[in-house]
């Protein structure tokens, strides 16, 4: 990961984290505020609901009282005081009273709760009432909750009982308002508030009928069953969070019997939508913040890393040989100082290189002069001796002059030839032509060059040299000038043979490795010292007594022209190995 990427990532994450923290904090604060408001609203709604229920209670009490005060009920009470009361003519009276008072249930009972007339179960006259009525309910003359069996199951109702006494005996009028969807609809609840009823038999209803997904209330109802206390829960009815309701369960009990619970649900739709809005706004602002952070980070990173990148580019250029590279950084910070130091360093490097080149040139010229002087002096000295011999023979030994002349002229010609050879080599080195590239199989080229020397390996009067080829066949195609490369190889092989005056093994190998073709020429000769290895490719440097020092310089020049490199390794007494590395031909 680059420094720029890392810097960009860090800055972006910092901005994103900050935005997320702010969003989270705002969202949390909003939620807490909403929860507080919701709690207050829930309390208000519950209080209002309880007032409504109390109002309904009183209404039931009033209705039962009115029914009890009716003439027909008074007649029943009078009949009850007879020695043999006959209630048969009043069997439908409860229904009439229930209709008149708009009560769901109304029973007229004897004090022992035997039914005289029942509006909801007219056929049960003479039987005991099966309503849940405690003695306290009768004596308290207040409304109470009761459970009433019906044809469709069990109903829970607000009931009130009123005793009608005429004479010694009394009768009871018990009326009730069923807790059902119409009852729930009649409750004056605020908008967004829903009244529901859970019956202990398992049914859950609201003003419109049975409630769907009742299983979502299981936890809340379990709490009510267990504690018989007011309980609270937030219920999400569907996957849509907007369907969530804050529900307060008010248990409906009669004595120790849990009859059900009134559930007051406050819709959280507005809250959820608002929270959702805040969330999306947070996400939007956060996203924009992150984007802005990324952009700012990118810009900042660019500003910070551009000089560094320029420096890297400058260093790479210097490493690539372009020492004239300069980094243009105008800031005065550490990066600017670094850039200034870099520029100063390159300037000093150039100066040092120029001085080194100058020194090397001087040294090379000196070496060349020394070598020229040496090379020329070697043939010149015999020439001088020969000419002096000729002069001396002419003056002192005229009779031997012819013979001396013949030998001397032969020597002169041989030395002249030496001079010519020396001049030719210098001339060749000077006019090395640019290579003409073509596809060359390195192994095949090695074999061809090797053939040129086969006659010399086992020639009589010469040390025996054992050739050894280890040539790869695949992926050894290179782009090369075969003549120049062949010449370089010949030079290396000649050097190797010269290094083995007493014979030995000449091993030539080729191999392909990762886009590079290596050609290695090894001898088992006297080897090279470390210093010799270091100076071996310097022009005019030679370890041989008779050499121009241009052979390896020519090899290096050829290899360099082929975009390759040459190296040498070896130790004294253990031979030397020259390795040429050339780029493999593409699409080979």
């Amino acid at each position: 990961m680059t420094f720029r990427t890392r810097l960009l990532l860090v800055s972006s994450l910092t901005v994103a984290g900050a935005v997320a923290l702010v969003s989270g904090a705002v969202s949390g604060a909003t939620r807490r505020a909403f929860d507080r408001i919701s709690e207050e609203r829930r309390k208000g709604v519950t209080d209002q609901f309880q007032r409504e229920v109390i109002s309904q209670d009183r209404e039931v009490e009033d209705k039962v009282q009115r029914a009890a005060a009716s003439g027909a009920v008074q007649q029943i009470a009078v009949e009850a005081n007879k020695s043999e009361p006959d209630f048969s003519t009043f069997v439908d009276e409860a229904r009439a009273q229930a209709d008149a008072q708009a009560l769901d249930f109304l029973d007229i009972l004897q004090p022992d709760l035997t039914i005289i007339s029942s509006a909801s179960a007219p056929a049960r006259f003479g039987y005991k009432s099966d309503w849940l009525i405690a003695p306290d309910d009768v004596s308290a003359a207040k409304s109470f909750l009761t459970r009433i069996p019906t044809d469709n199951g069990t109903a829970v109702a607000f009931a009130a009982v009123h005793a009608v006494s005429v004479g010694d005996k009394s009768i009871l009028v018990v009326g009730a308002r069923k807790l059902d969807p119409p009852f729930l609809a009649s409750l004056g609840v605020a908008p967004g508030v829903r009244a529901m009823l859970w019956l202990a038999s398992g049914e859950v209803m609201d003003a419109s009928g049975p409630v769907a997904n009742q299983q979502n209330l299981a936890g809340l109802l379990d709490t009510v069953r267990r504690t018989r206390q007011k309980a609270f829960a937030t219920v999400q009815w569907t996957r849509d969070p907007a369907t969530a309701e804050s529900i307060v369960a008010l248990p409906l009990v009669h004595g120790d019997t849990l009859l059900g619970a009134l559930l007051v649900g406050t819709s959280l739709r507005e809250q959820v939508l608002l929270e959702k809005g805040i969330l999306w706004t947070g996400i939007g602002v956060g996203g924009a913040g992150i984007l802005l952070g990324v952009l700012i980070g990118f810009w900042t990173t660019l500003r910070v890393t551009r000089p560094v990148a320029q420096l890297v580019s400058g260093v790479e250029a210097v490493a690539g040989g372009d020492w004239n590279t300069r980094v243009r950084v105008q800031s005065g910070d550490e990066i600017g100082q670094l850039a200034g130091a870099f520029n100063k360093m390159t300037e000093q490097l150039i100066e040092q290189r120029d001085r080194a080149i100058q020194a090397e040139r001087v040294a090379a010229w000196r070496e060349l002069a020394r070598r020229l002087a040496h090379e020329l002096k070697n043939p010149l000295f015999p020439l001088q001796i020969t000419i002096e011999n000729l002069q001396r023979a002419r003056e002192r030994h005229a009779e031997e002059f012819d013979e001396v002349f013949r030998e001397s002229t032969a020597t002169l010609l041989a030395e002249m030839q030496n001079l010519k050879t020396i001049v030719g080599q210098f001339s060749d080195f000077a006019k090395m032509p640019p290579p003409e590239f073509e596809a060359v199989n390195a192994s095949a080229l090695v074999r061809e060059v090797m053939k040129l020397f086969e006659a010399q390996f086992h020639a009589e009067g010469r040390p025996c040299i054992e050739p050894m080829l280890e040539l790869a066949e695949a992926n050894v195609e290179i782009s090369a000038d075969p003549l120049q490369l062949s010449r370089a190889l010949r030079n290396l092989m000649l050097n190797a043979m010269d290094a083995m005056p007493e014979g030995g093994t000449l091993r030539v190998s080729t191999e392909a490795d990762d886009g590079t073709v290596r050609i290695a020429v090894s001898d088992s000769g006297q080897g090279l010292s470390e210093e010799e290895c270091a100076r071996l490719f310097t022009p005019y440097y030679t370890t041989k007594r008779h050499g121009t020092g241009l052979g390896l310089a020519i090899v290096q020049s050829v290899v360099s022209d082929h975009h390759g490199r040459i190296s040498v390794s070896g130790q004294p007494g253990r031979g030397a190995t020259f390795t040429i590395e050339l780029p493999a031909r593409r699409n080979a």
């Binding site: 048969s88 003519t89 069997v91 007219p122 056929a123 049960r124 006259f125 003479g126 039987y127």
Partner: protein, 347 residues
């Protein structure tokens, strides 16, 4: 002198009052008697006998008044709207002499509520009176007429359940007939375990009607529920059926409301078709017999074979306008319109 004059005036007044009283009690000719009935018939063909007992009774009444004696009956059909109305007019050529009434208008298919309204608004002179209201109307001084018991209410068990006979016995023992008669029937009719009423057969009291819930519980122990049907249009049958369900539940028998075609038990009301016991039993599906002992055996066999539980013998009742006189019904509830006269007609 003055005293003599006063006495004379008093005597004359008494004579005038007596004359008015005598005149008022003397049958009057003329007038139109308006009768509302809940049943309706669509044909006057004697061969087409309705299955519903009330419709069959209505048709028999009409045929008796209009077509009896080969056209020499008291009335003849003046206007006929099937299922709606029938107007009879006095037959001047009646063999028993012209009836007092000029016309009789019978409006059919009138619900009990409509009949009550018509009566209150004086749009009807005679309306059917539910038995549950009979006592109240009588206590309020209303004019009523009721026949002898001529309708039998019974439970009819059907199906092929193995325990049906036991359940029939259990149900019969579980039903509190007395409470039903006292409250729902307002002490009208008779409790009966027989198909034919006591007045007709003379042996109806031999059929048991006592309640024994404990025995019923033993017989019905762990019995599966029975499906139960009744005619929901009849308020009286409905209330009796509901009470039977409560009584049966007390004995551990569950009766579940069902349609008639799917019911194991059906609460039915059957009309006694004749004032002759043998003929009546024959009409009910039993054997014709003249000897009372054989008749009793035949009725018992009929109850057993048809898996019946007779419950009550009921009369039919009517509420009459005060100006209707001489309204009577035969022992099996048949009308006798030829003797009826209306106050306000020509003396």
């Amino acid at each position: 002198m003055r005293r003599t004059l006063s006495r004379s005036i008093a005597v004359i007044s008494c004579l005038l009052a007596a004359a008015a009283l005598v005149a008022a009690r003397r049958p009057h000719y003329g007038g139109t008697l308006r009768i509302d009935v809940s049943s309706a018939i669509g044909s006057l063909d004697p061969a087409d006998v309705p299955t519903d007992p009330a419709e069959a009774a209505l048709k028999e009444n009409i045929l008796q008044e209009a077509f009896d004696k080969g056209g020499a009956g008291p009335f003849r059909v003046a206007q006929w709207e099937p299922m709606k109305a029938l107007t009879l007019e006095a037959n001047e050529q009646a063999s028993s002499g012209r009836p007092y009434l000029d016309r009789v208008e019978i409006r059919m298919g009138r619900s009990p509520r409509d009949q009550a309204l018509d009566f209150e608004l004086s749009k009807a002179d005679v309306v059917e009176l539910p038995l549950s209201d009979l006592r109240r109307v009588q206590q309020q001084g209303g004019h009523t007429s009721e026949s002898s018991p001529c309708m039998v209410i019974a439970l009819v068990f059907g199906g092929h359940r193995a325990d049906l006979d036991k359940l029939r016995q259990a149900t019969a023992l579980a039903i509190d007939r007395q409470a039903i008669r006292n409250v729902l029937l307002q002490r009208q009719g008779e409790i009966s375990g027989a198909l034919l009423p006591q007045w007709l057969s003379g042996y109806a009291f031999l059929f048991p009607t006592a309640r024994d819930v404990t025995r019923a519980q033993e017989l019905a122990a762990s019995a599966a529920p029975l499906s139960f049907a009744w005619d929901g249009r009849d308020a009286l049958l409905r209330s009796i059926a509901e009470r039977i369900i409560v009584n049966a539940a007390e004995a551990g028998i569950t009766l579940r409301p069902a349609t008639a075609s799917q019911a194991d038990v059906r609460l039915a009301m059957v009309r006694i078709g004749s004032d002759d016991a043998g003929e009546a039993l024959k009409a009910l599906g039993g054997a014709l017999a003249a000897d009372p002992l054989k008749l009793y055996e035949a009725e018992r066999a009929l109850i057993e074979s048809r898996r019946l539980v007779p419950l009550f013998q009921l009369p039919v009742a009517y509420e009459l306008s005060p100006n209707v006189h001489a309204w009577t019904t035969g022992p099996i509830g048949n009308w006798r319109l030829e003797d009826v006269w209306l106050e306000g007609g020509k003396p």
